[in-house]
Amino acid sequence: MKLNMTGLALAMSAVLLAGCSSTEEEGLTDSAQGTDASTSGYNDGSMSGSQFGSGNGLSSGSAYGSGSNLGPEFSDPNSPLSKQTIYFELDSSQVKQEFVPVVAAHAQYLASHPGQRVILAGHADERGSSEYNIALGEQRAKSVERMIRAQGVGSNQLEVVSYGEEKPAVSGHDESAWQMNRRVEVGYQ
């Protein structure tokens, strides 16, 4: 809960910077952050038009820290923790054998640092329909989440988000690009 509040405060400050009304945005951020599945996603309070009119744009809630407090093992190329991207086969959400030690290392680190949070961001290549790819990206992130949870990491340390094909790591349109885009990024917060 403490972490949620921090995230909320950061999100609200970002919102204030963007000139939005804090009380209206609060409900939105709160329900997005909510870990309680019974939280209604419906926001009754309509937002003001000026906030989203042409040119004003949607404020980007930078609710996350940079993760700069991580130890040297994260930048040591010989440590599996330096690998924070897990790649997948076409139409598959199964973690490949070569990435099992990578996921295990992150799980171990998280288990021994119960205050540390990560966001598992799932991605897909551009082929097929974009909303289906959102689902595929989520499946990938959830398989990584399951493996990490299996090593005793708390659910409050993990969050899954899927961007589908919307945020490619590589912009090409062939297999060499696609294989780099079918991925889950482990983002330390």
Partner: protein, 427 residues
């Protein structure tokens, strides 16, 4: 940003070139129809100040772009009459034309008076004569309206030239991507940004009355579904659950919004009652169920599911019930969208590693592949059912394409920079 761009018109028989001005937009007819009807649209005689909208060019590109017509190039015209008394039908017969449009436009300060006539060239019969008055910024609209009248008179079907489309563009701004949800005329002119964010925006869906757009935005770094009223810019958050909030689709009566949520585990189809905020779950199980779309009578919802292993289209009663599989051809069928009459279902059809737009005839269940790309996505019918708008990849960029529902004609709406995706044709 008033860039001069070229409008390239290719047909299989002739090659016509003309110029038009737009905000970084190119319209290219990449595949013409051999059976297109020859029609000559003579430049309208002008009185007073008209500005830079040339009515005959707009009508030309509307009619040619429909695939039903092939417009005569201005330089091939022997005469350019604007008065019905001065038309020499033999000239137009000699040029192989079937129909002729002539007209006049007079500007008097704040408004324009337009009149036009449509003739059958073979017997000289006047098929239609109209006079209309429009406001200062309505010349393009007036031209689209004239195109609609001509199209309906000659094909018996309603035109869709005076309609709008929504789509998402993304451009690099100082090394960072910026996503913009835009609404424009159906020919890509008059684009207006209604939302923008450095995080992805997806899946715009029109309300049946065209007054609102539901869409997905990641501006909180998580997905959320929003409904925005176009006239006021007012925006309402309708779903921001943990996990996926995606693929919104208004019911035909506008009272409910179907969507994909994964809050209870795997992605499933839900229906949100917009008045009561009551949420009904339509699918369950471990599979991916997403991309709901309503049949025009509101009785069923078609969605994409991988419950059989690969993504295929299924149908379920919109009030809940058993889902049945609709597609069996090809190894990937996703993102169904109905035509307004419910007779045809467009989809992303994958086979042999290519993803193209196909349409299924709902009566015979026959699937016809219509587009010829390999990364085609997001089909959306024109309100009159004559065309399907979709996203395609051209030279490494995402562009909008339009294909006629018989597959005979295809044209590309290309923006100068950035990528354009997720198109949705307004009702």
């Amino acid at each position: 940003m008033n860039l001069l761009v070229r409008v390239l018109c290719f047909s299989m028989l002739t090659s016509l070139w003309s110029l038009a001005q737009a905000e970084g937009l190119t319209i290219e007819i990449t595949k013409g129809s051999q059976s297109a009807i020859p029609i000559a649209v003579v430049p309208f005689a002008q009185q007073g100040t008209i500005g830079n909208v040339k009515l005959s060019d707009v009508i030309d590109s509307d009619l040619s772009g429909s695939g039903f017509f092939k417009a005569l190039a201005e330089e091939d015209m022997l005469t350019k009459p604007s008065d019905p008394e001065r038309v020499e039908f033999r000239d137009w017969q000699a040029l192989g034309q079937d129909y002729l449009v002539i007209g006049q436009v007079a500007g008097n300060g704040g408004s324009f008076n337009i009149q036009f006539h449509l003739f059958n060239v073979h017997n000289g019969q006047l098929l239609m004569g109209y006079r209309l008055t429009v406001g200062a910024n309505e010349l393009r609209r007036a031209a689209h309206h004239i195109s609609d009248l001509i199209y309906e008179k000659l094909t018996g079907r309603k035109g869709a030239f005076n309609t709008r489309i929504a789509y998402v563009t993304s451009v690099l701004q100082g090394g960072a991507k910026q996503f913009m949800l835009q609404v424009a005329d159906a020919d890509g002119y008059n684009p207006r940004t209604i939302a923008e964010s450095p995080e992805p925006i997806m899946a715009p869906a029109w309300s049946p009355d065209g007054s609102k757009i539901a869409y997905v935005s990641f501006h909180t770094k998580r997905s959320g579904i929003y409904i925005q009223t176009l006239a006021t810019g007012q925006r309402e958050s309708v779903a921001s659950y943990p996990g996926i909030n995606g693929a919104p689709a208004f019911s035909p009566d506008g009272s409910r919004l179907a969507m994909t949520l994964s809050k209870d585990g795997s992605p499933d189809i839900y229906v949100l009652n917009l008045a009561t905020h009551g949420l009904t779950r339509l699918t369950s199980g471990m599979s991916i169920d997403t991309e709901p779309t309503w049949s025009p009578d509101g009785s069923t919802i078609v969605f994409t599911s991988d419950q059989g292993g690969k993504p295929q289209l299924y149908t379920v009663p919109s009030g809940g019930g058993r889902a049945t599989r609709l597609t069996f051809q090809g190894d990937y069928n996703a993102r169904g969208r109905f035509s307004a009459d419910g007779k045809s279902l467009a989809m992303v059809h994958g086979s042999g590693g290519r993803y193209r737009i196909a349409a299924m005839d709902m009566a015979s269940r026959t699937v016809n592949v219509l587009s010829d790309g390999s990364l085609d996505d997001s089909p959306s019918f024109a309100p009159n059912g004559s065309m399907i708008l979709f996203a395609a990849n051209k030279g490494g960029r995402s562009v909008l394409s339009v294909v006629s529902t018989d597959g005979a004609m295809q044209q590309k709406l290309d923006f100068q920079s950035g990528s354009v995706r997720e198109p949705a044709w307004a009702p």
